[in-house]
């Protein structure tokens, strides 16, 4: 461990409610804590059934992570008790992730650059939303004009600064 103060070396995280990167055909914004986000795990049918009764609102979705695991994104007012519910394990993760929204004409090239899994999937769906992105694990929600990247809060500054660095370079397109 170096003795120096590392506060300068590691740049501070932005205020996620106002964070924005714009340029080179890509717009990046961030949001934190404005959706109900729940991790559900159990038999697929049971997970889907539980999600079906609670999923609602703008941008609601169920992201597959593993055969017995999915992330439910729902309206902020939806509440779901944590714990073991009829064979499904439930955890609230609304504050665990920052959603980074990457969109624009050059978004695809930027996303492919960040993630081999996204490049491999191309236009097709992802078998699992859990992929490596900028070298760290994230959950990806593909959109027609880009993607929403669900990044664990402690790793979000890294992903944000990676995007800043990538977009400050000369070229994104292949």
């Amino acid at each position: 461990m170096p003795d120096a103060d590392r506060a300068t070396f590691w740049p501070a995280a932005p205020d996620w409610s106002r964070a924005r990167i714009e340029g080179r055909g890509v717009t990046v914004t961030a949001a934190h804590g404005d959706r109900g986000v729940y991790l559900l795990s159990g038999p697929q049918d049971a997970v889907r059934a539980l999600a079906a009764t609670h999923i609602s609102g703008v941008c609601a979705c169920l992201l597959p992570i593993a055969p017995d695991r999915a992330l439910m994104v729902t309206a902020p007012e939806v509440t779901l008790d944590e714990g073991w519910q009829d064979g499904v394990a439930v955890s609230q993760l609304s504050d665990a992730h920052v959603r980074i929204d990457v969109r624009g004409t050059a978004a695809e090239a930027l996303l492919f650059r960040a993630s081999p899994s996204l490049a491999l999937a191309g236009d097709g769906p992802l078998a699992s939303a859990a992929v490596a992105f900028a070298g760290v694990p994230v959950l990806v929600e593909k959109r027609p004009d880009g993607a929403k990247i669900h990044v664990e809060l402690p790793l979000t500054p890294h992903v944000w600064h990676w995007l800043l660095a990538a977009l400050s370079e000369t070229e994104v397109h292949p």
């Binding site: 159990g42 090239a109 402690p154 790793l155």
Partner: protein
């Protein structure tokens, strides 16, 4: 036999290379301080030749002058340092790097470099190091040799850059944009497939740009119309598993750096062409000696005539178009063909080329450059350029990297692919297809390597970059380094930046001759990535500086910065070390913890939920102590072990409900715990009865402790009942903070009354600020370490090592009492686990109250022997003396005894104590 217009040595006013045609904007640059001009479209190499510069540097070992041999990635000599716009880039490959205005080019190895080495050169043949530096010890010589070795130098003042790289997935990747590659790519794209075509040159066309009459522009247009993505300046340098290719793309400018791309393609077509082999003769390293194809490339691509009096030497037909083109450009060309009746002779003669057939070149002479060539028939021919073709070697590197094998075909005198590799197709010359629309006559391109049996082998160069001569190969053979792999290691033939592209085959042929075997029987060295050097900056890409190693951040980091925290990296986390400009504040933070109330950001502590009917059973298996007996609302401390019985982590478990537990493991072990728990869940407990969720990031946790912590907490109103009877140590209650769920747990990191307050991460800063406003003093992780050392609380990984078991830390129950199985239980029953001499955790104190250096060894006997080491050591502000923890052989039995510590030559005495130096009864937990 000699035919043609000229006889005898030729002389003339125009000698050496010069530009004879071409247009384009002038590009100023310097070489070794000389102001020169190139043209747009030049490479550095073509610009140097256009300015008449033959010598571009000195050889690595013998410091001989060297010129430009090739025009592509096979160039062994023209490796240069370039400064552009203040940025120094070492080891630039002159034959591949486009010229830019303002480049300051210097040789990697100049004339004056390493004079001693140059003078000693005749006395340091291959294997010299191995034979000479045995006594007294290799390490005695190694530093000096390492200083002398290597090419180029790094300039610490220059910030190397890397261009944007990334990942790309396509249906087909075609490597090589010559006629064959363009055709394969176009056909596939027309069939609806996503096709990427990569080529290392600055434009598509491959060798057809200077060799064929094919309409390359039309071929490129057809490919683009079909939807082919074409990358030029892009070299596929490696074929890896699962259809992955490593591709290095040149930046738009030298200072922008190269970028690394990982291309995934289920099918790859290699149209990589072939590389020309040099001829072996004395003096074949003199500047002015060049591959024939390179001479043609410089002439037709760059308008540079590499010599006014070229001597073209060949053993195959491919050099004839070169000779004819040079003659048509006005050069006085002599062509020497080793064959007796070459089919192209009449055509060459008609173009004005003087022909010598049935002869070979024996040696080239000249002072620092080619001047005269001597043939086997005794002719002496004046020449300022020797353009040579010793045959061609298909570029099979990627095919071999993908699992293929190339074998030497004696009949065709070349390498051929031995078998098909799934997913890899070959097209064009790499597949042995040398036909083409431009070939009006039969095309005998084979040409076996011709290894001279007479002459000075010491002056005949096999590998120019490594200064390996024919004599070196023969010496290796005499010393029984008879395989090509041994030859490579013994002589360094085929190593370094060019990886022997021009040397490997003729080296193998030379070894075959020296050992009386056939090249076929020798085999080849293994082709490994990368095909071309890949800069470290390109490999790193964006992963530099703060992006090199992702660091986890605290949700309240902004508040810590605002509070004046000094932030440091701890186990992959950026955390406050202390609150102040330097560590002089730590004692005050410690005193505040013992006398008032302090708050520590513990958000990174694990919060791993284990849920389901089998949750208790799983936790009983994962922990060294039982957790299923825990009552809801209560907390229990526990250790996790490896299967070897050693401690991997410690933490507390909260029972949230009958079927839900929360594991609070240590900050840097969260992911390891989750991975281990998930593996055991899936392999032993099934997917139905228990699930594991990592909730760590959702919660921010502030650890409040100290004798007045209860009063501070009461001010926040998060929970209503703080009575110790209802809310005892090692229990938790639910509460609310600013209208959101909260949880308060009574645990202690400091040995004082303590509360862990957890709220959703979005409320981390409000909670921090509320606690500060209520009177809690912020403390960093350094003060926490001091406080924990006073209490004998361990940090797993710091106060334990890879052999520490629970009983070494004073926890005997897992080994002696638990009957049911748990991770590590069997190892705890081994005799060694009960050995009384095991290292055990103890405390240490000095009679004078001083500190003992952390890491100091505890020693005994003569000669002295380490019996343990100090794991933590601090000057306790609470006790006014040093406190230390140590792992000591038979530690518990030594309590009360004195031991000797040793650190960096210093020794001292210390008394062994129990680990806990402060409040051993634990009364302060409820103070």
């Amino acid at each position: 036999m000699t035919t043609g217009p000229q006889t005898g040595p030729q002389t003339g006013p125009q000698t050496g290379p010069r530009r004879i045609s071409g247009k384009g904007a002038t590009v100023p640059f310097t070489f070794a301080g000389r102001r020169l001009e190139g043209r747009a479209g030049d490479t550095i190499a073509s610009a140097l030749l256009a300015n008449g510069i033959l010598t571009v540097g000195r050889s690595f070992k013998y410091r001989r002058p060297r010129g430009i041999l090739a025009a592509g990635e096979d160039e062994p000599n023209a490796i240069l340092d370039v400064v552009l716009n203040g940025t120094r880039v070492p080891n630039v490959r002159a034959t591949l790097q486009p010229l830019e205005a303002g480049m300051e080019v210097t040789p990697v190895l100049g004339r004056g470099a390493e004079l001693l080495t140059r003078l000693l050169a005749p006395f340091i043949p291959s294997g010299f190091y191995y034979k000479t530096f045995i006594w007294p010890d290799w390490r005695f010589f190694e530093p000096a040799i390492r200083r002398m070795a290597g090419l180029g130098r790094l300039d610490p003042a220059s910030r190397a850059t890397a261009g944007p790289g990334g990942h790309l997935a396509v249906d087909l990747c075609v490597v090589g944009a010559g006629r064959s590659g363009l055709g394969a790519a176009t056909r596939a794209a027309r069939a609806g497939r996503r096709v990427l075509l990569v080529d290392r040159q600055d434009a598509p066309g491959g060798a057809s740009r200077w060799r064929s009459g094919a309409d390359i522009a039309a071929l490129v247009a057809r490919a683009e119309d079909a939807g082919v993505t074409i990358w030029t300046g892009a070299t596929a340098f490696g074929a890896y598993e699962n259809g992955r290719l490593g591709v290095l793309r040149q930046g738009g400018s030298l200072t922008l750096g190269d970028s690394l791309w990982e291309v995934r393609a289920p099918e790859v077509t290699l149209a990589t062409g072939a590389l020309e082999r040099p001829a072996l003769f004395q003096g074949n390293d003199l500047p002015g000696t060049m591959l024939a194809d390179a001479a043609l490339c410089y002439l037709l691509r760059h308008g540079v005539l590499s010599g006014a009096r070229p001597l073209v030497v060949t053993n195959n037909d491919s050099a004839y178009p070169v000779a004819i083109a040079l003659a048509m450009a006005g050069a006085a060309v002599t062509l020497v063909d080793a064959r007796q009746a070459p089919a192209w002779a009449a055509r060459a003669t008609a173009a004005g080329v003087r022909m010598v057939v049935g002869a070979r070149i024996v040696r080239a002479t000249g002072r620092g450059r080619v001047d005269v060539a001597v043939l086997t028939d005794g002719q002496r021919i004046g020449a300022d350029l020797i353009a040579m073709s010793g045959g061609w070697t298909p570029t099979v590197h990627l095919y071999c990297q993908a699992g293929g094998k190339a074998v030497w075909d004696e009949g065709r005198s070349t390498l051929v692919p031995a078998f098909a590799v799934p997913g890899i197709a070959l097209a064009g010359r790499v597949a042995g297809d040398w036909t083409g629309p431009e070939d009006a006559l039969p095309w005998d391109w084979a040409g076996a390597p011709d290894v001279p049996e007479t002459g000075k082998a010491k002056k005949t160069w096999v590998d120019l970059q490594n200064d390996v001569t024919l004599a070196d190969v023969q010496l290796a053979a005499r010393e029984n380094f008879a395989s090509v792999e041994h030859l490579k290691r013994y002589t360094t033939l085929g190593m370094a930046t060019d990886q022997g592209k021009t040397a490997n085959l003729i080296g193998a042929a030379a070894l075959a001759q020296a050992t009386g075997r056939r090249t076929t029987d020798l085999g080849l060295t293994t082709y490994r990535p990368p095909y071309v050097p890949v800069p470290m900056t390109a490999l790193a890409g964006l992963s530099r500086g703060p992006l090199q190693t992702p660091l986890r951040r605290l949700a309240a980091e902004a508040a810590h910065r605002a509070s004046g925290a000094t932030l440091r990296d701890y186990g992959g986390l950026l955390r406050p070390a202390f609150y102040g400009p330097d560590d002089s504040v730590i004692p005050a933070e410690c005193r505040a913890a013992r006398e008032g109330a302090v708050v520590f950001d513990a958000s990174s502590l694990g919060k791993v939920a284990v849920m389901g009917p089998k949750a208790g059973e799983l936790l009983d298996f994962l922990f060294a102590s039982r957790m299923s007996t825990l009552a809801p609302g209560r907390i229990r401390y526990g250790l996790t072990l490896s299967e070897a019985g050693t401690v991997t982590d410690d933490g507390v478990v909260l029972r949230l409900s009958p079927e839900e537990y929360l594991v609070s493991c240590s900050s840097s072990h969260v992911r390891a715990f989750v991975a281990s728990a998930e593996e055991w869940r899936q392999t032993r407990f099934g997917r139905e009865g228990v699930h594991i969720h990592d909730r760590t990031a959702h919660w921010a946790t502030m650890s409040l402790s100290g004798p007045t912590s209860k009063a501070v907490l009461a001010k926040l109103g998060i929970v209503t009942g703080l009575d110790d009877a209802a809310f005892p140590h090692m229990s938790f209650v639910a509460g609310r903070f600013q209208g959101h769920p909260a949880r308060v747990a009574r645990v202690s990191f400091t040995g004082e009354r303590g509360y862990e307050i957890s709220v959703p991460a979005g409320l981390a800063i409000p909670l921090w600020e509320a606690l500060a406003s209520a009177g809690a003093t912020p403390i960093g992780i350094e003060a926490l370490g001091w406080l924990r050392a006073e209490k004998g609380f361990i940090y797993v990984g710091q106060d334990t090592d890879g052999e520490t078991t629970p009983q070494d830390l004073g926890f005997d129950a897992p080994r002696l009492k638990r009957r049911e199985g748990f991770v590590g239980d069997r190892a705890l029953q081994l005799p060694v686990a009960g050995d009384a001499h095991r290292k055990a955790l103890v405390g240490l104190s000095r009679a004078d109250g001083g500190t003992i250096p952390a890491g100091a060894h505890l020693i005994e006997g003569r000669p002295r022997r380490s019996i343990g080491f100090v794991t933590s050591s601090h000057l306790s502000p609470t006790l006014g003396r040093g406190v230390a923890l140590a792992l000591l052989e038979g530690g518990r039995a030594r309590i009360g005894q004195e031991v000797t510590w040793f650190d960096l030559g210093k020794t001292g005495r210390a008394t062994v104590t129990a680990p806990c130096a402060w409040d051993p009864e634990g009364r302060r937990l409820d103070a």
